[in-house]
């Protein structure tokens, strides 16, 4: 099966060959055989041609890995997804770029705008306090604020949508 591994600022095209529980992988440059055992749920000991790696696979998001203690963000695209991407479908996600979510849970201490305000990319939208630090969240795109879902002084969970920009 042909896949593309995208991460760490580059991409590699590979063929996976899984047979009798053994995995082989080949690129145009090299061929490698894998010996993968599970050490605990989501953690693997990987011997790739006898090179030893400990690999953690994130439970929430399978594409966030950790190799020998180093975080690696990865996309593994199979032929179908590669084709879709070539057709330009990858940009589907971007239409929701105006949704500003909290990356951290915390207390909204300040909101700088009201509905209808025009904002430019990079302009501060609101302040969220977590772990005693005030964090300024800025507009990811330029546009009009069409919705503000919280009030100052409100405590929010991780991933809550605070502002919508269109």
């Amino acid at each position: 099966m042909r896949y593309e591994i995208i991460g760490g600022g580059k991409s590699v095209e590979v063929d996976f060959l899984a047979e009798d529980g053994k995995l082989e992988i080949s690129t145009d440059k090299r061929r490698a055989s894998f010996d993968i055992v599970s050490v605990q749920p989501g953690v693997y000991s990987v011997l790739m041609d006898n090179r030893s790696f400990v690999v953690g696979v994130g439970t929430r998001n399978g594409q966030k890995l950790n190799v020998n203690g180093t975080p690696v963000s990865l996309e593994l695209l199979d032929a179908v997804h590669l084709h879709l991407r070539d057709l330009g479908w990858e940009s589907m996600e971007e239409s929701r770029a105006g949704l500003v979510n909290t990356q951290i849970p915390g207390l909204i201490t300040r909101i700088f705008h009201v509905r209808g305000d025009e904002v430019s990319e990079g302009e501060p939208l609101f302040l969220i306090e977590a772990m005693k630090m005030e964090n300024e969240i800025r507009a990811p795109i330029s546009g009009t604020i069409i919705k503000i879902s919280v009030q100052e002084g409100q405590t929010v969970d991780k991933g809550t949508t605070i502002v919508e920009i269109e």
Binding site: V14, A18, L23, I36, R51, L76, K132
Partner: protein, 501 residues
């Protein structure tokens, strides 16, 4: 000696203090907030008392409640750790008034030195040089702005009521000034319950170098050399080391004497830290004095072979110092990396969640002062520091090698941490050479973050192969489950059918 000590803190420093108490045969009392019921300091202590809700203003800063616990549990002393109530004059006074020993300096010394503007005023009376800046906290914003203009931008805005980089802002121009003051005031208020801030000249190419001092109740004061704390981000220290690669023996002696003089000027008792800024010409200026145990104190412990918490307790119990200045001998080199629950790639945004996997490094010269365990939830309520990795070896180079090895062994899964960021710093050529100042992070930010984001081809293949296998197994499992499911419902159907017949 004390029989029972209440530790008015949480996290790694509470554990650190309790470990020494236990070694000294002293019982320990923990206090905890509702979200900290199963926090490591509660599990470690001999006794533990709930003092309130999660926000620190309702628990760890509630000094009346903490004092009540100390009284009812018959503690003879209270150790405040760092942060929270450690530099709160009122608390120190109340504790002392209740006949309980406050393990820290007299309230008067906290008042003088804990208040950064008062400290500056006080130090202007001594021979110790002071950084130019405002003498009083900012009250009138336009007056403050004109002071800033007179000193010359950039200036620093700093919290009068506490340290640790909280409530600190660098201001490059008069336009940014008012906004920055507001932010700094709000942060100070939230962190220390005291919104006062002041202005200081921002020195260029400065080193942040501090001296550890110990003073007993009999006027004996010694210093235990310096700690180099110039690696900072967000105005907060992230890596510290001792000895400083920038300081020579002559300067060390001069600065050590200034540190002792500083302590003497405020009749200091206990362990304290005198912070200096040193410019590229090796001029040094008094910055502030922290009247408490410092986060980075283990660096000094490892090169001097002392236990600073034990020294604090002995001093508070009225013992004279056993060490004289000439007895202070250092061996080797120590480096500390602070491990924060933060995402370095996203401007060090705090990261919360469950620690799903934990592997703490160990071995020769490797110490971890932390308060974490696998399965534990990191909440958004408190300081994001998870712990500190401290590595010692016979010289700077081997200590850094050890640190790099230990960081590679260190794995915390489930949340973002500064482990990788610390590794990038330790590997950076400028840091390796010891030629760095407080601008290190801003100067090398791009390279450091680029290193964080990049992966070798080999790592990509390994990650890709493992993700493939992991996904296949999950598909297999899902398929297996659903086929069991479907065969079951088929069976039910056939049973129903049979019954229909």
């Amino acid at each position: 000696m004390f029989k029972k000590i209440l530790v008015a803190n949480r996290g790694e420093i509470a554990l650190r203090v309790m470990r020494t108490c236990r070694e000294m045969g002293i019982e320990t009392v923990a206090v905890f907030s509702e979200v900290d019921r199963s926090a490591p300091h509660v599990l470690f202590a001999d006794e533990a008392y709930l003092i309130g809700a999660a926000p620190s203003s309702e628990s760890y800063l509630k000094y009346d409640k903490i004092l009540d616990v100390a009284k009812s549990s018959a503690c003879d002393a209270i150790h405040p750790g760092y942060g929270f109530l450690s530099e709160n004059t009122d608390f120190a006074k109340l504790v002392t008034a209740a006949g309980i020993v406050f393990i820290g300096p007299p309230a008067e010394a906290i008042k003088t030195m804990g208040d950064k503007t008062m400290a500056r005023q006080s130090m202007l009376q001594t021979e110790v040089p002071v950084v130019p800046g405002t003498e009083d906290p900012i009250e009138d914003i336009s007056k403050a702005r004109s002071v800033a203009e007179k000193i010359g931008f950039p200036v620093l805005i700093k919290a009068a009521g506490g340290g640790g980089g909280k409530g600190m802002r660098i201001v490059n121009s008069a336009e940014e000034f008012e906004d920055a003051v507001g932010k700094a005031q709000r942060e100070s208020q939230s962190a220390f319950g005291d919104g006062r801030v002041y202005i200081e000249k921002y020195l260029e190419e400065p080193h942040h170098i501090e001296f550890q001092i110990l003073a007993d109740q009999f006027g004996n004061i010694i210093h235990l050399n310096e700690r180099e704390c110039s690696i900072q981000r967000r105005y907060q220290k992230v890596i510290e080391e001792s000895p400083s690669p920038f300081i020579d023996e002559a300067l060390r002696e001069k600065m050590g004497e200034a540190a002792v003089e500083t302590a003497r000027s405020c009749n200091y008792v206990g362990a304290g830290t005198v912070e200096f800024l040193v410019d590229k010409y090796k001029n040094f200026y008094f910055l502030e004095m922290n009247t408490r145990l410092q986060v980075e104190h283990p660096v000094t412990e490892m090169i001097t072979g002392t236990d600073l918490v034990a020294e604090q307790i002995l001093i508070a119990a009225g013992e004279p110092l056993t060490l004289k200045q000439d007895d202070v001998k250092t061996t080797g080199h120590a480096v500390e990396c602070r491990i924060y629950a933060e995402d370095a790639a996203h401007d060090f945004a705090p990261s919360t969640g469950q620690i799903v996997l934990l592997q703490i490094p160990d071995g020769a010269g490797t110490r971890f002062d932390g308060a974490i365990r696998q399965g534990m939830e990191i909440t958004p309520y408190y300081d994001p520091m998870l712990g500190k990795l401290i590595c010692w070896s016979k010289d700077r180079n081997s200590a850094l090698n050890r640190c790099e090895r230990a960081l590679r062994e260190f794995y915390i899964g489930g949340i973002e941490t500064t482990i990788q960021f610390c590794r990038s710093v330790i590997r950076h050529p400028a840091f390796r050479e010891g030629s760095y100042d407080t601008h290190f992070y801003s100067l090398h930010k791009e390279e450091l973050l680029a290193e964080l984001a990049s992966s070798s081809d080999e790592v990509l293949l390994v990650a890709g192969g493992t993700l493939f296998q992991h996904t296949e197994q999950q598909k297999h499992r899902a398929h297996h489950d659903s086929s069991k499911q479907s065969s079951k419902s088929k069976w039910l159907d056939s049973r129903a059918e049979r019954n229909h017949r």
